[in-house]
Structure formats: structure tokens, C-alpha cells
Amino acid sequence: MKQAAAAIAGSGSTPYYFRGMSAPQTQYELIGKAIIAACADAGIAIEQIDGLVSYAHGFEASNICEMLGIPELSYAATVTGQGGGSAGVLDLASSAIESGRAKHVVCIGCSQQLGAHRYGTSLASLATTPTGVFSLFAGLVGPGPSMALLARRHMHKYGTRREAFAEVVMASRDYALTMPEAIRKKPLTLDEYFAAPMLADPLCRLDFCLETDAALAFVVTSAERAQDLRQKPVYIQGAAHGGGSDWGRAFFWLNMKDEIFASAGAERVARQVYERAGVTAKDIDVALIYDHFSPLVIMQLEDYGFCPRGEGGAFVEGGAIRPGGAIPVNPHGGHLSECYVIGMTHIREAVEQLRGVAVNQVPDAKFALVTGGPAPVPMSAAILRN
């Protein structure tokens, strides 16, 4: 197996807040706190940061640099896109380390939804363009109904049942029971799932992820340097961000060929990340799967090769994503139950699993897969190891 060039040496986070409850802190204040925590965790000084990486979510390296007094940046980059790029920050950071552009790169993610600004209605602001307006005229006001189109097609083609969506949510809820900061911390029964209000049939309210506020940051440095720092290194074995015109703007486009329409669109990124890491799905011990909508977890399990195309529903209904199952998924409770920071809590959980300190530790976890959201290109993934 190839030697990893870069490693995550530090992980930091603000507390997790329900939507809007992080006020009066600003987004930049949250980010600053996460960066300070990540540097303290790694045992480096703020002055040693020379790279900043994020993905498109409304904040700028300039503000962060100025706010925290970072003396010199030699690398500042952003993964473009809308939600798909979260794991891609690790690809950019390791690119910077491998190429020698920077020595200590901080990856940042933040979510803050104040007042009327809610992701649940995000299409309304994104779609008022000559090509996007058709989605609004169709009644696609948020990402949920668009995902419902994919989910319905998956049910139609493969016989996937709502019981499978329910299992993704129930498994997430069971994992979240022991997570100290989980927002939804109550067991969920199948009857309760089916009694939940339908929002965008076939998706009920419980199939939607949380809307929460927090910032997280990760210090990435060379594998060699990480061995001298405070924490056990978590190596970036492979990372990728990409995609193609066959997926394009995804649910803003909806003209994907039938073969991949009922998927999470991640087959290309899956191939890239496995090739780079030199491993396959069989080697992965724990999967941190971007769970903005429960059916998309099932489709990603197919895209990333944990089960054949079309069999994801039966796979999860058989207990595969539970403790001791074929591939434990989101032992932190994920976006559905713990907290939603656009993929960042998945990176944190992967780090904790591979340090061996996770609350719901997967025994002897060696390899963790982290995925970015099924979303417009680029989408992203990373494989970490200890």
C-alpha cells in the first residue's frame, strides 16, 4: 500500500447549536473558535498556519487571515459547488502538502442559519436564473422535493421501500443516543417514522437532515510532521473531488441518463478515491456517508461499492449499517440526528474513530471513508487510515 503524504493532526469544533441558536456569534467568530481549537488539539501555534482551505459556503480566507492574525499564507483555495465538496477540502489540503506549497493547512467548514436564511428553502435563492427558474415553476422550492424525484425513481426501478429509508433514520437515531451533543436524541420506532408528516412524498419530515449551526476545523500537515505532534496521526490515504457532465448540476438539472439518475452520482468520485488510496470498499471499516436525505445514503452505499446497484434498500434493511454490520455507517448519528455542518462532522467522526477515541467506537477501525454530499459537481470523498 502506498505511503500517505499528508495527515490530519488536529480537529476542533464549536459546540453544536440548533438553527439560529449560535447568535449573537457571527459565522467568522464560530470559524475562529474552531481554528483555535484545532490548532490547540494539534499542538501548533496559529502563527504556523500557512494554508486555508474551505469549500464554497460564503466565507473568505482574507477575513479569517486578518481576524486571527495569520502572518503569512502561501495557499488559499476553495472547492466549488454546493455541498458536494466537503470531503474535497482534504484533497486540496493534501495537494498543498504534497506539492510543498504549505506546511500546516487548516480546513474549515461552517454552517449558520440565521433569520430567514435556511438551507431548506435554498433553491428559492439559487434558482432565479433563466435556466433555474423552471425548478421554481415546478414547485421545487427546496432540495427535498428534488431528492424525492431521485428517491421515487429508485423505488420504481429497484423496488426500494420506505422501510429502508426508515432504517437509515432509525440507525442514525440509535447511534445518536450516546452522543453528548446530538440534537435528536430519542429512539425512533418504525411506527413513529410512518406517522411523521409527509413533506415531499416519498420523503417524510424524518428523512430530512437537521438544520444546525457550528464550525469545525482540521489541521493537515505532512505525515512525517504529524508524527511529532500531539495527537495520533490520521493519514489521508486518498482524497478526490470531481465528477462529469453526466451528473452536472444534479438536481438543478435532472437530465442525468436513466442508468445513473437513481443514484447519488458518486461512481466517478468513488473510483477516483479508491484508486488514489489503493484500497476497495472491502477494506473500509467505517463509513461516514453524507446524509442530508436518507434515501441518498442508500444510493451512496451502492455508488461506493458496499452493495450492488439497486440492492441498497435490502442491504440496509438487513442491518448492514448497524454496529457489527457489514459497514457501520455514521456512528456519530450523522446529519440526520447529531448535527449538520455540511459534511464536517463526518470528518471529525472519522478522525475520532481512527484515533480510537470515538463514543461509538468501531472496534479496530483502520480505514474510514468520508463522503461529500450528493450534489452538483464537484463531489468529493476521502479515505483516512491510522
Binding site: P130, V133, F137, G139, L149, R152, A200, W253, F261
Partner: protein
């Protein structure tokens, strides 16, 4: 229960040079999506280049019969206590004779229980500004 048309009165209709011919035809109740004039590849939405051959030449043509590729049923609070619930159906409308090109549009005035993937659809025009917005109903 029948599906309701989404309220589009508050949604502005931005038009650029690549979508203008579509809306010009829609003003006359003609559904004319774009096809590449060089390689005959249909595309949606109207954009400056053919993604297959990069030509900018477009012809605007009838796309043939429509059928439902996928849909959602969005539950919304209704306008009054007598009508506590509205069902809005975003649909993905496929044109098999136009290379399987799809247009996203509301499925209106249709019995929701009867809406199904593969159902044949007819276009319904809803007035908007100086033109009309395409919606569809069960044929």
C-alpha cells in the same frame, strides 16, 4: 384529491438570449425545446453550447409526446380551514422522441392517486408576464 398548481405569481421570470425563443413560442402555446442544428442532440435547459459538439446553432422544434419520468407530492398548508391541505406535484416530464430529454414542471389538476411513473401527459399553459409557463396534466 387533485393536485394544485404552485403559486408562481411572485416568482420573477428572468429571460436571456438563450431562453428567449422558448418563451416566445410559449406565448403562442407552443412547446418548442432546443435541438442542436448541427448534430441534432436535444438539450434542456437552453444553454449557449451543445454539450455534445459545442455548436451554438439551435433549432426549436416540437418534442413529441410527454410522459412522467418521476415526481414528488409536496404537502402544503391549504388556503382555508375547509381546505387544510394542498398537494403540489413537481414532475419530471420526459420526451421519448426527443432523445429522452426532460423538463421539470408542475403536474396540475390531476388525481394524485392516479399519478404514476410512465403516465402520458398533456401540456397546460399558465399565463405569466407576456408568455405562458408550461405545466402538465394526466392525459
Amino acid at each position: 384529491m387533485k393536485s394544485t398548481a404552485p403559486d408562481i405569481t411572485q416568482i420573477p421570470l428572468p429571460i436571456d438570449q438563450w431562453t428567449q425563443p422558448f418563451w416566445d413560442a410559449a406565448a403562442h402555446h407552443e412547446l418548442l425545446p432546443p435541438r442542436c442544428a448541427d448534430c441534432q442532440t436535444w438539450r434542456w435547459p437552453p444553454t449557449p453550447f451543445c454539450p455534445k459538439c459545442r455548436s451554438q446553432a439551435i433549432e426549436w422544434l416540437p418534442a413529441g409526446p410527454a410522459r412522467l419520468f418521476s415526481y414528488s407530492v409536496v404537502h402544503r398548508p391549504g388556503p382555508s380551514p375547509e381546505q387544510p391541505l394542498q398537494l403540489i406535484v413537481p414532475g419530471l416530464v420526459e420526451f421519448p422522441e426527443a432523445g429522452g430529454m426532460r423538463i421539470v414542471a408542475a403536474i396540475i389538476d390531476s388525481e394524485v392517486e392516479q399519478i404514476a411513473i410512465g403516465a402520458a401527459l398533456n401540456v397546460n399553459w399558465v399565463p405569466k408576464d407576456d408568455t405562458n409557463v408550461p405545466t402538465f396534466s394526466l392525459a
